[in-house]
Protein backbone atom coordinates (compact mmCIF):
# COMPACT_ATOMS: atom_id res chain seq x y z
CA UNK A 1 0.00 0.00 0.00
CA UNK A 2 2.44 2.65 -1.14
CA UNK A 3 -0.29 5.12 -2.00
CA UNK A 4 -1.93 4.87 1.42
CA UNK A 5 1.13 6.30 3.14
CA UNK A 6 0.64 9.56 1.27
CA UNK A 7 -2.93 10.11 2.38
CA UNK A 8 -3.45 12.64 5.15
CA UNK A 9 -5.03 10.37 7.73
CA UNK A 10 -2.35 7.72 7.32
CA UNK A 11 0.27 10.28 8.35
CA UNK A 12 -0.90 9.77 11.91
CA UNK A 13 -1.15 5.99 12.06
CA UNK A 14 -3.13 4.12 14.65
CA UNK A 15 -1.34 2.47 17.55
CA UNK A 16 -3.16 -0.68 18.54
CA UNK A 17 -2.90 -2.50 21.86
CA UNK A 18 -5.66 -5.08 22.11
CA UNK A 19 -8.99 -3.29 21.98
CA UNK A 20 -7.42 0.09 22.56
CA UNK A 21 -6.05 2.21 19.79
CA UNK A 22 -4.70 5.74 19.70
CA UNK A 23 -3.52 8.13 17.10
CA UNK A 24 0.23 8.38 16.85
CA UNK A 25 1.21 11.96 16.24
CA UNK A 26 5.00 12.20 16.08
CA UNK A 27 5.41 15.89 16.84
CA UNK A 28 3.33 16.13 20.05
CA UNK A 29 4.97 12.91 21.30
CA UNK A 30 8.40 14.36 20.62
CA UNK A 31 7.45 17.55 22.48
CA UNK A 32 6.36 15.52 25.51
CA UNK A 33 9.55 13.44 25.42
CA UNK A 34 11.86 16.46 25.17
CA UNK A 35 9.87 18.38 27.80
CA UNK A 36 10.18 15.44 30.20
CA UNK A 37 13.96 15.47 29.78
CA UNK A 38 14.07 19.23 30.35
CA UNK A 39 11.78 18.86 33.35
CA UNK A 40 14.01 16.16 34.86
CA UNK A 41 17.09 18.33 34.34
CA UNK A 42 15.42 21.35 35.95
CA UNK A 43 14.21 19.21 38.84
CA UNK A 44 17.72 17.94 39.54
CA UNK A 45 19.12 21.46 39.19
CA UNK A 46 16.54 22.77 41.65
CA UNK A 47 17.72 20.27 44.24
CA UNK A 48 21.45 20.72 43.58
CA UNK A 49 21.54 24.51 43.57
CA UNK A 50 21.34 26.48 46.83
CA UNK A 51 23.21 27.89 49.79
CA UNK A 52 24.60 24.42 50.47
CA UNK A 53 25.64 23.37 46.95
CA UNK A 54 25.51 19.64 46.31
CA UNK A 55 26.67 17.51 43.42
CA UNK A 56 24.33 15.27 41.51
CA UNK A 57 26.07 12.17 42.83
CA UNK A 58 25.73 13.46 46.41
CA UNK A 59 22.00 13.89 45.87
CA UNK A 60 21.61 10.41 44.39
CA UNK A 61 23.70 9.00 47.22
CA UNK A 62 21.56 10.77 49.81
CA UNK A 63 18.33 9.57 48.26
CA UNK A 64 19.65 6.00 48.41
CA UNK A 65 20.20 6.40 52.14
CA UNK A 66 23.82 7.60 52.21
CA UNK A 67 25.29 11.05 52.71
CA UNK A 68 25.89 13.08 55.87
CA UNK A 69 23.06 14.04 58.22
CA UNK A 70 23.29 17.56 56.91
CA UNK A 71 22.91 16.28 53.33
CA UNK A 72 20.01 14.12 54.43
CA UNK A 73 18.26 17.09 56.02
CA UNK A 74 18.87 19.46 53.12
CA UNK A 75 17.79 17.00 50.42
CA UNK A 76 14.98 15.03 52.04
CA UNK A 77 13.44 17.64 54.31
CA UNK A 78 14.07 20.89 52.43
CA UNK A 79 14.80 20.68 48.74
CA UNK A 80 13.03 17.51 47.65
CA UNK A 81 9.57 18.48 48.94
CA UNK A 82 10.03 22.02 47.69
CA UNK A 83 10.97 20.89 44.19
CA UNK A 84 8.23 18.26 44.13
CA UNK A 85 5.63 20.81 45.25
CA UNK A 86 6.73 23.12 42.45
CA UNK A 87 6.69 20.37 39.86
CA UNK A 88 3.27 19.05 40.86
CA UNK A 89 1.71 22.49 41.28
CA UNK A 90 3.00 23.46 37.85
CA UNK A 91 1.58 20.28 36.34
CA UNK A 92 -1.81 20.81 37.98
CA UNK A 93 -1.95 24.43 36.84
CA UNK A 94 -0.92 23.48 33.29
CA UNK A 95 -3.62 20.82 33.05
CA UNK A 96 -6.25 23.11 34.57
CA UNK A 97 -5.39 25.85 32.08
CA UNK A 98 -5.40 23.42 29.14
CA UNK A 99 -8.91 22.20 30.02
CA UNK A 100 -10.23 25.74 30.53
CA UNK A 101 -8.71 26.98 27.27
CA UNK A 102 -10.02 24.05 25.28
CA UNK A 103 -13.54 24.44 26.62
CA UNK A 104 -13.76 28.22 26.59
CA UNK A 105 -11.94 28.25 23.22
CA UNK A 106 -9.95 31.28 24.25
CA UNK A 107 -6.21 31.44 25.00
CA UNK A 108 -6.94 33.99 27.72
CA UNK A 109 -9.04 31.55 29.71
CA UNK A 110 -7.26 30.25 32.78
CA UNK A 111 -8.00 29.84 36.46
CA UNK A 112 -6.23 33.20 36.99
CA UNK A 113 -8.88 34.96 34.97
CA UNK A 114 -11.87 32.76 35.77
CA UNK A 115 -11.88 33.67 39.46
CA UNK A 116 -10.44 30.46 40.91
CA UNK A 117 -7.03 31.86 41.84
CA UNK A 118 -8.26 35.03 43.51
CA UNK A 119 -11.02 33.11 45.26
CA UNK A 120 -8.33 30.89 46.75
CA UNK A 121 -6.34 34.02 47.62
CA UNK A 122 -9.29 35.58 49.44
CA UNK A 123 -9.88 32.36 51.37
CA UNK A 124 -6.27 32.01 52.45
CA UNK A 125 -5.79 35.67 53.35
CA UNK A 126 -8.92 35.62 55.53
CA UNK A 127 -7.36 32.87 57.62
CA UNK A 128 -3.95 34.54 57.73
CA UNK A 129 -5.32 37.90 58.90
CA UNK A 130 -8.05 36.59 61.20
CA UNK A 131 -5.69 34.05 62.69
CA UNK A 132 -3.25 36.75 63.75
CA UNK A 133 -5.19 39.85 64.67
CA UNK A 134 -8.30 38.25 66.08
CA UNK A 135 -6.58 35.27 67.64
CA UNK A 136 -9.30 32.92 66.45
CA UNK A 137 -7.03 30.47 64.73
CA UNK A 138 -3.50 29.96 65.98
CA UNK A 139 -0.47 27.74 65.67
CA UNK A 140 -0.84 24.54 63.70
CA UNK A 141 -4.51 25.22 63.04
CA UNK A 142 -3.42 28.24 61.03
CA UNK A 143 -0.81 26.32 59.02
CA UNK A 144 -3.39 23.71 57.98
CA UNK A 145 -6.09 26.35 57.80
CA UNK A 146 -4.39 28.49 55.14
CA UNK A 147 -4.19 25.88 52.38
CA UNK A 148 -7.59 24.51 53.35
CA UNK A 149 -9.16 27.95 53.17
CA UNK A 150 -7.37 28.51 49.86
CA UNK A 151 -8.78 25.27 48.49
CA UNK A 152 -12.30 26.11 49.65
CA UNK A 153 -12.06 29.71 48.40
CA UNK A 154 -10.92 28.55 44.97
CA UNK A 155 -13.61 25.90 44.71
CA UNK A 156 -16.26 28.36 45.90
CA UNK A 157 -15.25 31.11 43.46
CA UNK A 158 -14.88 28.67 40.55
CA UNK A 159 -18.26 27.07 41.12
CA UNK A 160 -19.82 30.50 41.66
CA UNK A 161 -18.53 31.69 38.27
CA UNK A 162 -19.76 28.48 36.74
CA UNK A 163 -23.20 28.82 38.32
CA UNK A 164 -23.60 32.49 37.43
CA UNK A 165 -22.51 31.89 33.84
CA UNK A 166 -24.99 29.05 33.39
CA UNK A 167 -27.89 29.87 31.08
CA UNK A 168 -29.25 26.55 29.82
CA UNK A 169 -25.62 25.69 29.24
CA UNK A 170 -22.15 27.15 29.50
CA UNK A 171 -20.84 29.59 26.98
CA UNK A 172 -17.14 30.42 27.09
CA UNK A 173 -17.43 34.12 26.52
CA UNK A 174 -19.99 34.63 29.29
CA UNK A 175 -17.85 32.57 31.64
CA UNK A 176 -14.83 34.82 31.00
CA UNK A 177 -16.91 37.95 31.71
CA UNK A 178 -18.40 36.54 34.92
CA UNK A 179 -14.93 35.30 35.90
CA UNK A 180 -13.44 38.76 35.51
CA UNK A 181 -16.23 40.11 37.74
CA UNK A 182 -15.69 37.51 40.47
CA UNK A 183 -11.91 38.00 40.23
CA UNK A 184 -12.43 41.72 40.87
CA UNK A 185 -14.71 41.08 43.86
CA UNK A 186 -12.37 38.50 45.40
CA UNK A 187 -9.35 40.72 44.70
CA UNK A 188 -10.93 43.73 46.38
CA UNK A 189 -12.00 41.65 49.36
CA UNK A 190 -8.42 40.42 49.69
CA UNK A 191 -7.07 43.98 49.61
CA UNK A 192 -9.64 45.00 52.21
CA UNK A 193 -8.43 42.21 54.49
CA UNK A 194 -4.82 43.32 53.99
CA UNK A 195 -5.77 46.88 54.95
CA UNK A 196 -7.67 46.03 58.13
CA UNK A 197 -5.32 43.24 59.18
CA UNK A 198 -2.23 43.46 61.38
CA UNK A 199 0.90 44.69 59.56
CA UNK A 200 2.83 41.47 60.20
CA UNK A 201 -0.07 39.30 59.08
CA UNK A 202 -0.48 41.45 56.01
CA UNK A 203 3.20 40.87 55.24
CA UNK A 204 2.78 37.11 55.49
CA UNK A 205 -0.37 37.30 53.43
CA UNK A 206 1.44 39.26 50.71
CA UNK A 207 4.04 36.51 50.38
CA UNK A 208 1.29 33.92 50.10
CA UNK A 209 -0.57 35.97 47.47
CA UNK A 210 2.59 36.21 45.37
CA UNK A 211 2.88 32.46 45.20
CA UNK A 212 5.90 30.93 46.88
CA UNK A 213 7.60 27.58 47.29
CA UNK A 214 9.61 28.67 50.34
CA UNK A 215 9.32 26.29 53.26
CA UNK A 216 7.17 23.79 51.40
CA UNK A 217 7.30 20.36 53.03
CA UNK A 218 5.90 16.93 52.43
CA UNK A 219 2.54 18.07 53.82
CA UNK A 220 2.26 20.26 50.72
CA UNK A 221 3.42 17.55 48.31
CA UNK A 222 0.95 14.87 49.35
CA UNK A 223 -2.39 16.63 48.61
CA UNK A 224 -1.28 17.86 45.16
CA UNK A 225 0.21 14.46 44.34
CA UNK A 226 -3.03 12.70 45.31
CA UNK A 227 -5.11 15.16 43.30
CA UNK A 228 -2.91 14.64 40.24
CA UNK A 229 -2.87 10.85 40.56
CA UNK A 230 -6.67 10.87 40.48
CA UNK A 231 -7.38 13.77 38.15
CA UNK A 232 -4.77 13.33 35.40
CA UNK A 233 -6.26 9.98 34.30
CA UNK A 234 -9.78 11.38 34.76
CA UNK A 235 -8.90 14.36 32.58
CA UNK A 236 -7.26 12.14 29.95
CA UNK A 237 -10.30 9.88 29.75
CA UNK A 238 -12.80 12.74 29.83
CA UNK A 239 -10.57 14.73 27.53
CA UNK A 240 -11.15 12.54 24.50
CA UNK A 241 -14.35 14.51 23.93
CA UNK A 242 -12.41 17.80 23.95
CA UNK A 243 -11.64 17.50 20.25
CA UNK A 244 -15.28 17.28 19.30
CA UNK A 245 -16.18 19.94 21.92
CA UNK A 246 -14.15 22.54 20.05
CA UNK A 247 -17.00 23.50 17.76
CA UNK A 248 -20.19 25.45 18.27
CA UNK A 249 -22.71 23.62 20.46
CA UNK A 250 -24.84 22.39 17.57
CA UNK A 251 -21.95 20.84 15.69
CA UNK A 252 -20.65 19.20 18.87
CA UNK A 253 -24.07 17.82 19.69
CA UNK A 254 -24.37 16.57 16.11
CA UNK A 255 -21.18 14.59 16.72
CA UNK A 256 -22.88 12.74 19.53
CA UNK A 257 -21.65 14.68 22.56
CA UNK A 258 -23.83 15.57 25.53
CA UNK A 259 -22.38 19.05 25.43
CA UNK A 260 -23.50 20.43 28.80
CA UNK A 261 -22.69 17.29 30.76
CA UNK A 262 -19.24 16.93 29.20
CA UNK A 263 -18.37 20.59 29.62
CA UNK A 264 -19.57 20.73 33.25
CA UNK A 265 -17.60 17.66 34.19
CA UNK A 266 -14.35 18.93 32.68
CA UNK A 267 -14.76 22.42 34.15
CA UNK A 268 -15.21 20.99 37.65
CA UNK A 269 -12.05 18.90 37.16
CA UNK A 270 -10.16 22.04 36.09
CA UNK A 271 -11.46 24.05 39.06
CA UNK A 272 -10.40 21.35 41.54
CA UNK A 273 -6.91 21.09 39.97
CA UNK A 274 -6.33 24.85 40.16
CA UNK A 275 -7.69 25.09 43.70
CA UNK A 276 -5.52 22.26 45.02
CA UNK A 277 -2.45 23.77 43.34
CA UNK A 278 -3.16 27.24 44.69
CA UNK A 279 -3.77 25.85 48.17
CA UNK A 280 -0.29 24.30 48.16
CA UNK A 281 1.81 27.16 46.81
CA UNK A 282 -0.36 30.24 46.61
CA UNK A 283 -1.52 31.76 43.34
CA UNK A 284 1.51 31.32 41.07
CA UNK A 285 0.62 33.64 38.22
CA UNK A 286 0.52 32.89 34.49
CA UNK A 287 1.56 29.22 34.63
CA UNK A 288 -1.96 28.02 33.88
CA UNK A 289 -2.29 30.68 31.19
CA UNK A 290 1.04 30.15 29.44
CA UNK A 291 1.87 26.43 29.63
CA UNK A 292 -1.06 25.19 27.50
CA UNK A 293 -0.27 27.79 24.86
CA UNK A 294 3.43 26.91 24.85
CA UNK A 295 2.54 23.22 24.58
CA UNK A 296 0.09 23.97 21.77
CA UNK A 297 2.59 26.01 19.74
CA UNK A 298 5.37 23.44 20.17
CA UNK A 299 3.07 20.55 19.25
CA UNK A 300 1.45 22.34 16.32
CA UNK A 301 -2.01 21.22 17.38
CA UNK A 302 -5.26 23.21 17.34
CA UNK A 303 -6.12 22.53 20.96
CA UNK A 304 -3.84 22.48 24.00
CA UNK A 305 -2.43 18.95 24.45
CA UNK A 306 -3.36 17.83 27.97
CA UNK A 307 -0.32 15.80 28.93
CA UNK A 308 2.05 18.21 27.22
CA UNK A 309 0.55 21.04 29.28
CA UNK A 310 1.14 19.07 32.49
CA UNK A 311 4.83 18.56 31.70
CA UNK A 312 5.43 22.09 30.47
CA UNK A 313 3.57 23.54 33.47
CA UNK A 314 5.90 21.61 35.76
CA UNK A 315 8.97 22.71 33.81
CA UNK A 316 7.85 26.35 33.83
CA UNK A 317 7.51 26.42 37.63
CA UNK A 318 10.84 24.59 38.08
CA UNK A 319 12.61 27.05 35.80
CA UNK A 320 11.00 30.05 37.51
CA UNK A 321 11.91 28.72 40.93
CA UNK A 322 15.49 28.18 39.85
CA UNK A 323 15.66 31.76 38.60
CA UNK A 324 13.89 33.07 41.72
CA UNK A 325 16.41 31.37 44.01
CA UNK A 326 19.56 32.32 42.16
CA UNK A 327 19.07 35.70 40.49
CA UNK A 328 19.20 37.80 43.66
CA UNK A 329 20.96 37.62 47.00
CA UNK A 330 17.82 36.58 48.84
CA UNK A 331 15.38 34.03 47.50
CA UNK A 332 12.44 35.60 45.70
CA UNK A 333 8.98 34.03 45.69
CA UNK A 334 8.53 32.00 42.52
CA UNK A 335 5.36 33.94 41.70
CA UNK A 336 7.42 37.10 41.15
CA UNK A 337 9.37 35.41 38.37
CA UNK A 338 6.33 33.83 36.69
CA UNK A 339 4.60 37.23 36.82
CA UNK A 340 7.62 38.95 35.23
CA UNK A 341 7.77 36.27 32.51
CA UNK A 342 4.00 36.18 32.11
CA UNK A 343 3.20 39.89 31.74
CA UNK A 344 4.94 40.36 28.37
CA UNK A 345 3.46 37.06 27.22
CA UNK A 346 -0.04 38.28 28.07
CA UNK A 347 0.64 41.47 26.10
CA UNK A 348 1.85 39.38 23.17
CA UNK A 349 -1.40 37.40 23.25
CA UNK A 350 -3.50 40.57 23.33
CA UNK A 351 -1.57 42.25 20.50
CA UNK A 352 -1.72 39.09 18.45
CA UNK A 353 -5.47 38.63 18.91
CA UNK A 354 -6.04 42.29 17.96
CA UNK A 355 -3.98 41.84 14.82
CA UNK A 356 -5.97 38.75 13.90
CA UNK A 357 -9.25 40.52 14.55
CA UNK A 358 -8.24 43.14 12.00
CA UNK A 359 -7.53 40.65 9.23
Amino acid sequence: MTTATKTPAAKAPALRVGATSFRLRPRPLLVVAISLVVLAALFVADIVVGDFPLTVSQVVDTLLGGGTRRDQFVVVELRMPRALTGLLVGGALGLSGAIFQAIVRNPLASPDILGVTWGAGAGAVSVITFAGSLGVVTGSAASIGVPLAGLLGGLFAGLLVYGLAWRKGIEGFRMVLVGIGITAVAGNFTHYLLTVGDVQDAGRAMVWITGSLNGRGWEHVVPVALALIVLVPVAMIGGHVLGALQFDDQTSRGLGIRVNAARSFLIVVAIVLASVATAAAGPIAFVALASPQIALRLSGTAQPPLFGSVVIGGALVMLSDLVARTIYRTELPVGVVTAVLGAPYLMFLLVRSRREARV
Binding site: T7, P8, A9, A14, F22, G256, A302
Partner: protein, 265 residues
Protein backbone atom coordinates in the same frame (compact mmCIF):
# COMPACT_ATOMS: atom_id res chain seq x y z
CA UNK B 1 -40.50 3.71 -0.09
CA UNK B 2 -39.71 3.39 3.59
CA UNK B 3 -39.88 6.40 5.90
CA UNK B 4 -36.47 7.32 7.31
CA UNK B 5 -37.33 10.35 9.37
CA UNK B 6 -40.71 11.52 10.46
CA UNK B 7 -42.22 14.47 12.30
CA UNK B 8 -45.55 13.74 13.88
CA UNK B 9 -47.70 16.64 15.21
CA UNK B 10 -44.39 18.32 15.97
CA UNK B 11 -44.45 21.69 17.76
CA UNK B 12 -41.32 23.62 18.71
CA UNK B 13 -41.14 27.00 20.36
CA UNK B 14 -38.78 29.52 21.89
CA UNK B 15 -40.39 30.91 25.05
CA UNK B 16 -44.01 31.83 24.36
CA UNK B 17 -43.69 31.78 20.58
CA UNK B 18 -44.45 28.65 18.57
CA UNK B 19 -42.03 28.45 15.65
CA UNK B 20 -43.13 25.09 14.32
CA UNK B 21 -46.83 24.38 14.78
CA UNK B 22 -48.21 20.80 14.88
CA UNK B 23 -46.34 19.77 11.77
CA UNK B 24 -46.37 16.38 10.06
CA UNK B 25 -43.64 15.39 7.64
CA UNK B 26 -42.25 12.14 6.29
CA UNK B 27 -38.82 11.91 4.72
CA UNK B 28 -38.64 8.93 2.36
CA UNK B 29 -35.47 6.85 2.38
CA UNK B 30 -33.05 7.64 -0.44
CA UNK B 31 -34.54 10.96 -1.50
CA UNK B 32 -33.34 14.55 -1.54
CA UNK B 33 -35.73 16.92 0.19
CA UNK B 34 -35.40 20.71 0.08
CA UNK B 35 -37.21 22.82 2.67
CA UNK B 36 -38.03 26.29 1.42
CA UNK B 37 -39.92 29.26 2.84
CA UNK B 38 -39.53 32.93 3.75
CA UNK B 39 -37.17 34.07 6.53
CA UNK B 40 -38.47 33.13 9.96
CA UNK B 41 -40.90 30.49 8.69
CA UNK B 42 -39.34 27.88 10.97
CA UNK B 43 -37.46 25.84 8.38
CA UNK B 44 -34.12 25.93 10.22
CA UNK B 45 -35.89 25.18 13.48
CA UNK B 46 -37.58 22.19 11.88
CA UNK B 47 -34.24 20.89 10.61
CA UNK B 48 -32.66 21.26 14.07
CA UNK B 49 -35.53 19.36 15.65
CA UNK B 50 -35.22 16.63 13.03
CA UNK B 51 -31.54 16.35 14.01
CA UNK B 52 -32.37 16.34 17.73
CA UNK B 53 -30.60 19.66 18.32
CA UNK B 54 -33.83 21.13 19.70
CA UNK B 55 -36.36 19.42 21.96
CA UNK B 56 -39.95 19.12 20.79
CA UNK B 57 -42.57 21.01 22.78
CA UNK B 58 -45.16 18.47 21.78
CA UNK B 59 -45.37 15.71 19.21
CA UNK B 60 -42.35 13.66 18.25
CA UNK B 61 -39.58 13.06 15.74
CA UNK B 62 -39.15 9.43 14.72
CA UNK B 63 -35.84 8.21 13.34
CA UNK B 64 -36.20 4.81 11.67
CA UNK B 65 -39.44 4.45 13.59
CA UNK B 66 -37.92 5.15 17.00
CA UNK B 67 -38.61 8.26 19.05
CA UNK B 68 -35.48 10.34 18.62
CA UNK B 69 -35.79 11.81 22.16
CA UNK B 70 -35.46 8.37 23.67
CA UNK B 71 -32.22 7.63 21.77
CA UNK B 72 -28.80 8.54 23.15
CA UNK B 73 -26.97 11.48 21.56
CA UNK B 74 -24.29 9.11 20.36
CA UNK B 75 -26.71 6.64 18.78
CA UNK B 76 -28.34 9.48 16.85
CA UNK B 77 -24.92 10.71 15.71
CA UNK B 78 -24.08 7.28 14.31
CA UNK B 79 -27.10 7.35 12.01
CA UNK B 80 -27.71 10.99 11.30
CA UNK B 81 -25.19 13.63 10.24
CA UNK B 82 -25.99 17.28 10.72
CA UNK B 83 -24.33 20.36 9.27
CA UNK B 84 -25.51 23.55 11.01
CA UNK B 85 -25.84 26.84 9.15
CA UNK B 86 -22.57 28.50 10.09
CA UNK B 87 -20.46 26.07 12.05
CA UNK B 88 -17.33 27.39 13.74
CA UNK B 89 -13.99 25.63 14.10
CA UNK B 90 -11.13 26.53 16.41
CA UNK B 91 -8.35 28.59 14.92
CA UNK B 92 -5.45 26.56 13.55
CA UNK B 93 -7.37 23.32 13.04
CA UNK B 94 -6.25 21.51 9.89
CA UNK B 95 -8.73 20.15 7.38
CA UNK B 96 -7.60 16.57 8.07
CA UNK B 97 -8.17 17.08 11.80
CA UNK B 98 -11.54 18.72 11.24
CA UNK B 99 -12.71 15.79 9.16
CA UNK B 100 -11.25 13.36 11.71
CA UNK B 101 -13.52 14.88 14.37
CA UNK B 102 -16.42 13.50 12.35
CA UNK B 103 -15.36 10.07 13.57
CA UNK B 104 -16.13 10.94 17.17
CA UNK B 105 -19.42 9.00 17.43
CA UNK B 106 -17.50 5.83 16.52
CA UNK B 107 -14.72 6.35 19.04
CA UNK B 108 -14.26 5.83 22.76
CA UNK B 109 -11.58 7.06 25.15
CA UNK B 110 -9.77 3.73 24.87
CA UNK B 111 -10.24 3.55 21.11
CA UNK B 112 -9.42 7.04 19.91
CA UNK B 113 -8.20 6.26 16.44
CA UNK B 114 -8.41 3.13 14.32
CA UNK B 115 -7.60 2.22 10.75
CA UNK B 116 -11.35 2.47 10.01
CA UNK B 117 -11.23 6.09 11.08
CA UNK B 118 -8.26 6.79 8.83
CA UNK B 119 -9.96 5.13 5.89
CA UNK B 120 -13.21 7.06 6.45
CA UNK B 121 -11.37 10.38 6.64
CA UNK B 122 -9.42 9.70 3.47
CA UNK B 123 -12.55 8.60 1.64
CA UNK B 124 -14.44 11.72 2.72
CA UNK B 125 -11.62 14.03 1.60
CA UNK B 126 -11.36 12.18 -1.69
CA UNK B 127 -15.06 12.42 -2.38
CA UNK B 128 -15.24 16.16 -1.80
CA UNK B 129 -12.06 16.65 -3.81
CA UNK B 130 -10.05 18.38 -1.09
CA UNK B 131 -7.45 15.69 -0.41
CA UNK B 132 -4.74 18.17 -1.42
CA UNK B 133 -5.99 20.69 1.16
CA UNK B 134 -5.74 18.22 4.06
CA UNK B 135 -2.81 19.96 5.75
CA UNK B 136 -4.13 23.50 5.35
CA UNK B 137 -5.92 25.11 8.29
CA UNK B 138 -9.65 25.63 8.03
CA UNK B 139 -9.41 29.40 8.55
CA UNK B 140 -7.23 29.90 5.46
CA UNK B 141 -9.66 28.20 3.08
CA UNK B 142 -11.99 30.02 0.73
CA UNK B 143 -15.74 29.85 1.39
CA UNK B 144 -16.35 27.05 -1.09
CA UNK B 145 -13.40 25.00 0.12
CA UNK B 146 -14.47 25.47 3.71
CA UNK B 147 -17.96 24.26 2.97
CA UNK B 148 -16.48 21.19 1.33
CA UNK B 149 -14.37 20.57 4.41
CA UNK B 150 -17.43 20.71 6.66
CA UNK B 151 -19.36 18.42 4.36
CA UNK B 152 -16.38 16.04 4.48
CA UNK B 153 -16.65 15.99 8.25
CA UNK B 154 -20.33 15.05 8.01
CA UNK B 155 -19.38 12.37 5.46
CA UNK B 156 -16.65 10.94 7.68
CA UNK B 157 -19.33 10.49 10.31
CA UNK B 158 -20.45 7.67 8.02
CA UNK B 159 -24.20 8.26 8.19
CA UNK B 160 -26.50 7.69 5.26
CA UNK B 161 -28.88 10.39 6.49
CA UNK B 162 -27.64 13.97 6.18
CA UNK B 163 -29.31 17.18 7.31
CA UNK B 164 -27.79 20.30 5.75
CA UNK B 165 -28.84 23.75 6.91
CA UNK B 166 -28.30 26.15 4.01
CA UNK B 167 -25.15 24.49 2.69
CA UNK B 168 -24.79 27.20 0.04
CA UNK B 169 -24.89 30.32 2.24
CA UNK B 170 -22.21 32.92 1.49
CA UNK B 171 -21.11 31.07 -1.63
CA UNK B 172 -21.05 32.57 -5.12
CA UNK B 173 -23.22 30.92 -7.75
CA UNK B 174 -20.47 28.74 -9.19
CA UNK B 175 -19.62 27.39 -5.73
CA UNK B 176 -23.29 26.90 -4.91
CA UNK B 177 -23.59 24.67 -7.97
CA UNK B 178 -20.39 22.94 -6.93
CA UNK B 179 -21.69 22.07 -3.48
CA UNK B 180 -25.10 20.99 -4.75
CA UNK B 181 -23.48 18.82 -7.43
CA UNK B 182 -21.61 17.15 -4.60
CA UNK B 183 -24.85 16.64 -2.68
CA UNK B 184 -26.37 15.17 -5.82
CA UNK B 185 -23.43 12.81 -6.20
CA UNK B 186 -23.74 11.64 -2.58
CA UNK B 187 -27.35 10.89 -3.25
CA UNK B 188 -26.85 9.23 -6.61
CA UNK B 189 -23.81 7.09 -5.82
CA UNK B 190 -24.72 5.94 -2.33
CA UNK B 191 -28.43 6.43 -2.05
CA UNK B 192 -28.01 8.74 0.92
CA UNK B 193 -31.12 10.42 2.28
CA UNK B 194 -30.63 14.17 2.34
CA UNK B 195 -32.74 16.95 3.83
CA UNK B 196 -31.54 20.49 3.23
CA UNK B 197 -32.77 23.99 3.82
CA UNK B 198 -32.26 26.10 0.70
CA UNK B 199 -32.98 29.72 -0.09
CA UNK B 200 -32.64 29.60 -3.85
CA UNK B 201 -35.90 28.22 -5.27
CA UNK B 202 -34.47 27.47 -8.71
CA UNK B 203 -31.63 25.44 -7.26
CA UNK B 204 -34.06 23.66 -4.94
CA UNK B 205 -36.13 22.77 -8.00
CA UNK B 206 -33.10 21.37 -9.77
CA UNK B 207 -31.56 19.32 -7.01
CA UNK B 208 -34.45 18.07 -4.88
CA UNK B 209 -36.86 15.18 -5.44
CA UNK B 210 -39.29 16.67 -2.97
CA UNK B 211 -39.85 20.29 -2.03
CA UNK B 212 -41.44 21.24 1.27
CA UNK B 213 -42.74 24.81 1.40
CA UNK B 214 -43.25 26.32 4.86
CA UNK B 215 -44.89 29.47 6.12
CA UNK B 216 -45.62 30.48 9.72
CA UNK B 217 -44.39 27.19 11.15
CA UNK B 218 -46.62 25.05 8.98
CA UNK B 219 -46.19 23.15 5.74
CA UNK B 220 -48.12 24.88 2.98
CA UNK B 221 -47.24 22.60 0.12
CA UNK B 222 -45.09 19.55 -0.51
CA UNK B 223 -44.42 17.37 -3.50
CA UNK B 224 -42.26 17.33 -6.60
CA UNK B 225 -40.77 20.67 -7.73
CA UNK B 226 -43.35 20.87 -10.53
CA UNK B 227 -46.23 20.44 -8.09
CA UNK B 228 -44.98 22.87 -5.45
CA UNK B 229 -43.36 25.68 -7.39
CA UNK B 230 -46.39 27.34 -8.91
CA UNK B 231 -47.27 31.01 -9.30
CA UNK B 232 -50.10 30.62 -6.74
CA UNK B 233 -47.79 29.01 -4.18
CA UNK B 234 -45.17 31.75 -4.58
CA UNK B 235 -47.82 34.38 -3.94
CA UNK B 236 -49.22 32.52 -0.96
CA UNK B 237 -45.96 31.48 0.72
CA UNK B 238 -43.56 34.29 -0.15
CA UNK B 239 -46.04 37.02 -1.11
CA UNK B 240 -44.05 37.13 -4.33
CA UNK B 241 -45.51 38.01 -7.70
CA UNK B 242 -43.61 35.79 -10.11
CA UNK B 243 -43.89 33.88 -13.35
CA UNK B 244 -42.90 30.24 -13.45
CA UNK B 245 -41.39 29.03 -16.72
CA UNK B 246 -39.57 25.89 -17.73
CA UNK B 247 -35.86 25.78 -16.97
CA UNK B 248 -34.25 25.50 -20.45
CA UNK B 249 -31.50 23.25 -19.09
CA UNK B 250 -33.19 20.92 -16.63
CA UNK B 251 -36.85 21.20 -17.50
CA UNK B 252 -37.67 21.94 -13.86
CA UNK B 253 -39.67 25.03 -12.85
CA UNK B 254 -37.78 28.33 -13.09
CA UNK B 255 -39.03 31.16 -10.91
CA UNK B 256 -38.84 34.61 -12.50
CA UNK B 257 -39.85 37.36 -10.06
CA UNK B 258 -41.78 40.31 -11.49
CA UNK B 259 -40.84 43.16 -9.13
CA UNK B 260 -42.34 46.65 -9.11
CA UNK B 261 -40.26 47.94 -12.01
CA UNK B 262 -41.83 45.50 -14.44
CA UNK B 263 -45.27 45.22 -12.92
CA UNK B 264 -48.07 45.89 -15.37
CA UNK B 265 -50.69 47.96 -13.56
Amino acid sequence: MSVRLEASSLSIGYGERLVVDTLDLSIISGTVTAVIGPNGCGKSTLLKALGRLLPARSGAVLLDGRKIDSMSTRDVARVLGMLPQSPSAPEGLTVADLVARGRHPHQAWYRQWSSDDAAAVDAALEMTGILDLADRTVDELSGGQRQRAWISMALAQGTDLLLLDEPTTYLDLAHQIDVLDLVQELHASMGRTIVMVLHDLNLAARYADTIVAMRGGRIVAQGSPGEVLTEEMLLEVFGLDARVVEDPVSGTPLVVPVGSRHRVP
